[in-house]
Symmetry: C2
Subunit: 122 residues, 2 copies
DNA sequence: CGACTGTTATATCATCAATATAACAGTTAG
DNA sequence: CTAACTGTTATATTGATGATATAACAGTCG
């Protein structure tokens, strides 16, 4: 698993890590049942503190992307929760689309963007 | 202009204010050339500090949603910048859609969501 | 037993969100 | 002209959060 952290980004490190793991699951680079590197190994790999990795893993567990097995560590295990996921998307999408409307982005252009991102991942 | 701040939200007050103003512009509740309440009045209205409002207004000015006229205060004045807007959307959409894919949300369901949000606003 | 796993507890430091008080330079109505 | 308003800036404080560091604990496994 290749993780790239941008230390100059305004986005928190644990959020970057979290998002990249989600993308890796979405693109099947990480498959259901697969183990992630231990918090200490991952921390060494990307050059951050153990607790920063732990925070990302805990957040992913909380949101139903992985479970923790005493023997195998953090294991990808997705809880499908489409309704909850759609609700979260709606909340985040609303201000994003409002901004797009104001800036002259059409409905079809957004949909085209959606297609591009889906095509990149699936 | 009706502004509703959720003081229990994890979202920063100035971000809530910012987003609600953008939505108001998108839905034509606020029109180009219209003045916003002064930072002090808005602060009194919604029960927050003047600087919190100033931060929201400054951020909106920085991102090309309004300009400041010494005489008329903060005035809605949108800089159309579609390309930049699309790029920002792409960055924010990627992790959002990745999460959706993992949680079983289909491409068409996202597009349906986009339609709903656009219909609500336009 | 020893090396590993996640987890938890502290502590420190920097940054940021929010508040408060205060002042300054324009603008505008009385 | 004065007084009341506008945005803007400066400074300070408080609380929350991100990231780091060191340390320990309990479970697992070769």
């Amino acid at each position: 698993m290749l993780i790239e952290i941008d230390f100059n980004s305004e986005e928190a490190i644990y959020v970057q890590l979290r998002n990249q793991i989600i993308v890796a699951i979405a693109t099947s680079q990480l498959k259901n049942g697969e183990s992630l590197p231990s918090v200490r190994n991952m921390a060494d790999d990307i050059g951050v503190n153990m607790h920063t990795v732990n925070k990302a893993y805990s957040s992913l567990r909380q949101d139903g992307f992985l479970k923790v097995d005493r023997r195998r560590g953090a294991v990808v295990s997705v809880d499908i929760d489409k309704i909850n996921s759609l609700n979260k998307m709606r909340c985040l999408l609303k201000p994003l689309i409002a901004s797009g409307i104001v800036k002259g982005v059409s409905r079809d252009e957004v949909k085209k963007l959606i297609d591009e991102i889906y095509d990149d991942m699936e």
